[in-house]
């Protein structure tokens, strides 16, 4: 595995996706419908599927697992942070924080975990091929990330016709704030 510094192994891969998301977001909100449609594609590709780029890049550059996880989650979390800030015009800081736990952000995070699990498997498989089978292909992290990702996506998209989790969160809001 090549010896890379912190910036090379995680900051660069993460920044590619994060900057692309921020730039496309700025374009989205300041352009015509056609350009907004295209920039929206880039924006949501970064938010929803950015880990497909970040995880393998950081893996082959030797980033430890914690860094890989943080790098993959950073873009959806930044996007969600912007949404939480915007919601502050109508709600208290505590409510805005709670707003961060919404079905789309949960879905985005769950999606990253699923992608990380899948990518981890393929990265190890590829590494194993290169190192002639010395690497264990299926890591506990890959299994855990894939299962939690699938579970999260199920809760967001399928459970209770796709609104069950939403109503659960609303119930939680009532118990905390009302």
């Amino acid at each position: 595995m090549p010896d890379r510094n912190f910036s090379q192994r995680i900051v660069v891969p993460t920044s590619i996706v994060l900057v692309a998301m921020i730039v496309s977001r700025i374009i989205y909100f300041n352009s015509s419908a056609t350009v907004a449609t295209l920039s929206g594609i880039v924006m949501f590709l970064c938010i929803g599927f950015g880990s497909f780029l970040i995880y393998p890049l950081s893996f082959v550059r030797g980033a430890p697992l914690t860094e890989r996880i943080i790098g993959c989650l950073l873009t959806p979390l930044v996007w969600n942070g912007i949404e939480m800030y915007n919601v502050g015009q109508a709600f208290s800081p505590a409510e805005s924080l709670f707003y961060g736990v919404n079905i789309l952000s949960i879905g985005a995070v769950a999606g990253q975990f699923l992608i990380m699990g899948v990518c981890d498997f393929f990265c190890r498989w590829n590494q194993g091929r290169a190192e002639r089978g010395e690497t264990k292909v299926l890591s506990p992290f890959a299994v855990l990330a894939s299962v939690s990702g699938i579970l999260g996506i199920y809760l967001v998209l399928v459970w209770g016709e796709g609104v069950g989790l939403h109503y659960l969160l609303i119930g939680l809001y009532k118990n905390i704030f009302l």
Binding site: A33, A36, Q89, A90, F98, N102, L104, L157, G162, I170
Partner: protein, 470 residues
């Protein structure tokens, strides 16, 4: 009950009076399509059928000019009655609006200000008043008021659902029938509720009846019945200029449960569920015909609030103080009362006007405290004056990113004030019905706003604006 007693005590004189009335009506009725200002009061108190749809944008009926949606039964009602083209809700959100329909009061009065503040049962509904006056009453369908399901006074049966936060679901939705949970009898909720409604109107009774039928449709997730699943597949949704497919998941549109699938597919399913609703409305109207009740039944079809399909780059349930949100479908059929059926009435009517109108047609005094006013005069005469202004109000409702709002709508202007950072807005509704040019940036607009602000303050203090028609 009252009508039963009256029949029991029919005297010879009364019988002659009825015979005379019937003879006169048999001469007059053939000419009732001729426009005139005369009214033809029914000989008995009328039945009342109120059908409420959910989240139906006012433009989504073929009689409202939708480019491809076909709603023959809503059209039929409009053809046989009056289509109100300026019908509004005073709070564009499900629970407050429903409470306003039921009580004839603004949200700041009845207290159901958003989808969290509970219905406390302290405000009388028109159903309760009508039942006390001898009506047989039923509440069938979506209740969706915050708080636990009440033992709703003044109705029998009370049929509703509580799953999914009270929103129900389109397929196999369990119902609560007079407090007891029952499995669905029909798989599709719109048909199921209509079945219960038809069973109610078919009951043998001496008293008139009032049916409140509030559908789950057309709230998301817009699941159409199987036989409508493919209609409009080749139709292109007429999204507004500037619409992009990401609008449903940007700008805080996070929680509608509608962010699955492409906007055009969601739009078509919305239309399909409206067609399903229209079919069931047709079943109900046909049953009224078959039972010989149509001529003595007031039918009102309305929506609880609007829905954005990209207008103002917004998506979802109303809330915002723009027309696609606060304006609702509103059709009234009342045989024998409307001299010029098929009319389009442009007078402003509100959800809070429904309760006092029902009480007036039932010849029941309107209780003090109801803030709406009967629109019966507008049904009777096209030249009746409408209200001049009304108060729009919206209260904080987590997690939706809309600041608390108060506004005044006149036939010319919409003036809006928000709590927090958002600046006031003013729109000229005659020249800019799409509300695209905020006149607060102009000197003329600011001058008009000063007057409107006074009207707003007056409405807020409850000193005007409740006049519906005269």
């Amino acid at each position: 009950m009252r009508s039963t007693d009256r029949r029991k005590g029919t005297t010879r004189k009364a019988a002659l009076r009825i015979l005379g009335t019937v003879s006169i009506l048999s001469i007059v009725l053939p000419f009732r399509l001729i426009p005139c200002e005369a009214s033809f009061p029914p000989s008995e108190r009328p039945n009342i059928v109120f059908v409420l749809s959910d989240n139906q944008n006012y433009k989504f009926m073929s009689c409202a000019g939708h480019p491809f949606l076909e709603t023959p039964n809503m059209d039929r009602l409009a053809r046989e009655g009056v289509l109100f083209t300026n019908a509004f809700v005073t709070t564009s959100l499900c629970s407050p609006s429903r409470a306003s329909f039921l009580t004839g009061k603004y949200a700041h009065t009845h207290g159901v200000q958003n989808n969290f503040t509970p219905w406390d049962g302290s405000h009388r509904t028109f159903l309760e008043v009508l039942q006390e006056a001898g009506y047989d009453t039923a509440f069938i369908g979506k209740w969706h008021m915050p708080g636990s399901l009440p033992n709703l006074k003044g109705v029998d049966p009370f049929i509703t659902f509580t799953i999914q936060g009270g929103q129900g679901r389109y397929l196999n939705c369990p119902l609560i029938v007079n407090g007891e949970e029952r499995p669905s009898r029909k798989p599709y909720i719109t048909e199921e509720l209509t079945d219960y409604a038809i069973e109610f109107i078919e009951r043998k009774r001496d008293a008139p009846f009032c049916l409140y039928l509030s559908h789950k449709a057309v709230h998301h997730r817009w699941t159409p019945p199987a036989h409508l699943a493919d209609i409009y597949a080749d139709k292109k949704p007429p999204f507004p200029e500037g619409f992009d497919p990401w609008i449903p998941v940007t700008r805080g549109h996070l929680f509608e449960g509608t962010n699955q699938g492409f906007a055009s597919q969601l739009y078509r399913n919305y239309c399909r569920t409206i067609v399903a609703l229209d079919e069931q409305l047709g079943r109900l109207l046909d049953r009224l015909d078959a039972l010989g009740m149509a001529d003595n039944t007031l039918v009102v079809f309305a929506g609880d609030n609007g829905f954005f399909w990209g207008e103002h780059k917004l998506f979802g349930t109303g809330r915002w103080p723009y027309d696609d949100s606060i304006r609702v479908p509103f059709i009234v059929r009342y045989p024998g009362t409307i001299p010029d059926v098929g009319r389009r009435a442009d007078q402003m009517v509100l959800n809070i006007d429904v309760a006092p109108t029902f009480l007036e047609v039932a010849d029941v005094p309107v209780p003090q405290g109801m803030e709406g006013a009967s629109f019966l005069p507008i049904l009777r005469s096209a030249s009746a004056s409408g209200r001049e202004a009304f108060l729009y109000e919206y209260f904080k409702d987590f997690p939706y990113r809309i600041p608390p709002t108060q506004g005044v709508r006149t036939d010319k202007y919409m003036y809006i004030e928000y709590e927090g950072r958002r600046k006031p807005e003013l729109y000229d509704m005659r020249n800019d019905p799409q509300q695209e040019q905020n006149l607060m940036h102009t000197a003329e607009g600011r001058a008009s706003a000063a007057e409107l602000k006074k009207t707003l303050e007056s409405l807020k203090s409850g000193r005007g604006g409740t006049h519906a028609g005269s």
